[in-house]
Homo-oligomer: 515 residues x 2
């Protein structure tokens, strides 16, 4: 992973000329903005207390505690655009004092024990792909470690009768697919961060992948889990579903490391499909396309992949990053089928869609993980590009769409705002926005606050699949209300009495006493 951007530097792409022209003409972007060299990134000097460091080395083995410059840079923040802009400018002020790599559940428990005793904060770190500040703690430097789960990378067991596999959280998605593939199995979880994100991160942040229409969200796949917390071990999930009390798995899913560290996942798996066929459809408008998606979801005829670009995204051609700038009129819908495509095709045609054949679908499938590389090129060209997303019930979708667009336009002047729907349910859907602007970090962060407020005001959830992290913390508190926050605080105080787990993420600090 490129420390200052996304993915494999060999896959970096030049911006097409049309895009450069568009950036210049519409947004006045022209100044290239290169990243500093990694050696120039400034880190907080404070080391961990010597005793803590010694005890951590004892706990996981000296080779698995790293405090060299590169390791610390590589564990500084996640991959949001503000994160990248800061690190590209040489700002490593949020770096942890050390990176600790435990090799087992027991070692994780030991690390938490040591850190609890020394008051050292712990940021669980999987692929480091958070785009919401999910791996950036309140505490920096010598007061915090990154707990990197890379060594917990085994496929523990496969049960092909129950179609359940036990996997460790540090597995990157492609490695998990490779290990399961040897058994003819797949998770079917392909978010845009697929190439680098880990299973533990998917669970901790309630990830949702591009094939969610067919495979469900990641939280739908989790049937059991083991969690190491400062207060001990949780082992949850004795059946697919239970009527016995609250579903505590759903309290850990989405907890973003604030309660503990997921050390094992029992996941529902499926047979690898013989073939997946991707195809394109055109709709006259975003409203017509989303009505077609709703019809599919409510008829129970969902394909595996279903994605609708709005007019702007279709025009720009963002669904086909390989052919960016060559987009079309109307709204492009991509459908991916693993089974009989006829039921879905009949509903789409009935809803006014024009069949475009397989080419647009194949183009999308080919470029589906390319967008983050494109972002690097845009950042290097001096543009700011970021994504944000939300979800709501169908009847509220147009209001939420308008509210987010208006907030972005109001805050940023003339940004390019594109949107797609990529996750649908019987009762509602997500909206995923991509924004390109010539404004810099400060303007973006101010716009982001306004969009967050607009989403809450328009009845949406603050995130459908990126999570809360630090960037959505205050808006999330509004979403679940003061009593919802109190529930999370109560759970955190019981599982993490010293408050060492990912402080500042998910849960707002208690209001300070007056006076």
């Amino acid at each position: 992973m490129l420390w200052s951007g996304w993915g494999d530097p060999a896959k970096a792409r030049e911006l097409p000329d049309q895009i450069r022209r568009l950036l210049h003409d519409l947004m006045g972007v022209s100044a290239p903005a290169p990243a500093v060299a990694i050696d120039e990134v400034k880190l907080p000097p404070a080391p961990l207390p010597g005793v803590a460091l010694a005890e951590l080395r004892e706990a996981v083995g000296a080779a698995h505690v790293r405090d060299d410059h590169e390791a610390r840079v590589r564990h500084t923040r996640g991959k949001s655009t503000p994160d990248l802009l800061r690190i590209r400018a040489g700002d490593g002020s949020d770096a942890p004092g050390a990176v600790v790599l435990p090799g087992s559940h027991e070692e994780v428990l030991r690390v938490l024990e040591v850190c609890g005793r020394h008051g050292v904060a712990v940021v669980p770190f999987g692929g480091g792909t958070s785009v919401v500040g999910g791996v950036t703690s309140d505490v920096t430097g010598g007061g915090v470690i990154a707990l990197d789960l890379a060594r917990l990378d085994r496929l523990v067991s496969v049960d092909t009768e129950s179609m359940v596999a036990e996997l460790e959280p540090g597995l990157r998605a492609p490695d998990a697919e490779r290990l399961l593939g040897e058994h003819g199995l797949t998770l079917g979880h392909f978010p845009q961060s697929y190439e680098y994100a880990t299973l533990g991160g998917f669970a901790a942040a309630r990830s949702s992948g591009q094939a969610s229409a067919g495979y469900g969200r990641f939280d739908d796949m989790v049937v059991g889990m083991t969690v190491a917390t400062p207060a001990g071990t949780l082992d949850l999930g004795r059946a697919p579903k239970s009527g016995a009390g609250p579903d505590l798995r759903q309290l850990v899913l989405g907890s973003e490391g604030a309660f503990g560290v997921i050390t094992s996942l029992r996941l529902r798996v499926r047979r690898i499909p013989a073939e997946t066929v991707y195809e394109g459809w055109r709709f006259e408008s975003f409203a017509a396309g989303s009505a077609a998606m709703r019809a599919l979801a409510q008829a129970g005829s969902l394909p595996t992949v279903l994605r609708l670009s709005d007019e702007t995204e279709t025009m720009i051609g963002l669904a086909k990053p390989e052919a960016i700038g060559s987009g079309d009129a109307g709204c492009l819908l991509i459908a991916g089928h693993e089974k009989d495509r006829q039921p879905a095709a009949a509903v789409l045609a009935q809803a006014g869609g024009t069949y475009l054949g397989a080419e647009p679908g194949q183009a999308w499938a080919h470029g589906r993980f390319a967008a983050p590389y494109l972002r690097d090129s845009l950042l290097a060209a001096g543009a700011t590009v970021e994504t944000l997303e939300t979800a709501t019930f169908w009847a509220n979708l147009p209001r939420l769409y308008d509210a987010v667009r208006l907030a972005l336009l109001g805050a940023l002047g003339t940004p390019l705002v594109m949107c797609h729907i990529s996750h649908v349910y019987e009762t509602g859907a997500s909206l995923y926005f991509t924004v390109v602007t010539g404004h810099g970090l400060a303007a973006w962060e101010s716009a982001k606050r306004e969009v967050n407020a607009a989403i809450v005001a328009a009845g949406g959830t603050i995130s459908h699949h990126h999570g809360v992290g630090r960037d959505h913390r205050e808006a999330y508190a509004e979403e679940i209300g003061p009593l919802g926050v109190e529930i999370l605080r109560a759970v955190k105080e019981r599982l993490d009495p010293a408050g060492i787990m990912n402080p500042g993420v998910l849960i707002p600090s208690p209001p300070r006493p007056a006076g």
Copy 2:
């Protein structure tokens, strides 16, 4: 509802002669065991503190606070067999001091405030159909009220675009279906308690209905909810699914009144199907039948209703209560289809099933809510009949089935033990046991403890759809572990600091300090 049994007394049924003979020959049952008259039920005398009673009358209106003998008897415990045996014997010792019927969310909040101030416990009461002690509190008589939700019985709104309806928790299921039916809609939730259970109870106890293969469990239907707690109001659910933090809806679902009172539910609804076709299939063995169900679930070809009786249940004919005793060999599978039945039929035939036509299916559908009436007749004849259920992953199902049967046989000598699978998932299924014995209450309660331990030891969940209540509390604590219990306690202490909400249900009391 019959105070001493189930349902409408006019629907009471005589036991067929075959059953009487079987009870006598196999279990030595012959003595009829009639119920006392309602006037003879002994209630605890202690009234509520006068000030509390006055304030409750103030809060909800004097007409909506009842402390007459009949109201108190009718709110004493639920409908488990031990509950019925006790009340039939005149034991009303768990009766509440009064029954309070609030008419709105605000009135519920006020009742909780009054009760919190006076230290009066609150048992939320819907249909009163719990079979696990879910409406039986640690506190009795003047120290507790039943909070009856019968007046919260409105269909608040219908959104046919999102296919979401807002309904109040006191609605009985048939009334909810009638109100939704005027819009052409249905919940599709038909548990055996359907005729009397309420929506709030379904949510609070994570109910699962007979059409769960097609409609999902009740918790799958809940997209939003409002909850009145002693600490204030929770309002949850801004989207079908969210990536923003833990899913707090899943913490309230299954909380069984221990955290607060659900005062409104936003539920996913569907169009009423044009037709449902029920049919029967025969399999050679329970293993062959359950393998067929697994194949259906994993192929994504589930019908709406899917139920498989084991050899004993098939022989007794329990899937056709109207023709009890006339059962057949092998294992009877009932499938209910709302759409094209061919995909499921092909899988069932492929898995070795013999098609039996529509008659067995229609017979099951006709008698599907009759079993509780049959229980009354058995109790009156002096037999003890009770049900219990669990769930696990497919690979563990045979072990769990054997463990439960062995525990029952070991504890009760020669009971009649029947089982069916009625809820299936890709990764596992439920097991639902019906037990008939000539032993009385004490022997049953001892057997129940042994079965609970056997379920936990065999890796099952202590309940797939009846809930925890008081009867599964200790086994549930083992299932989720000490840290799981601590999570529930932490949430309860924050939402219900005075500990007035349904005390003794769901959450075991903290261990007493030693010495």
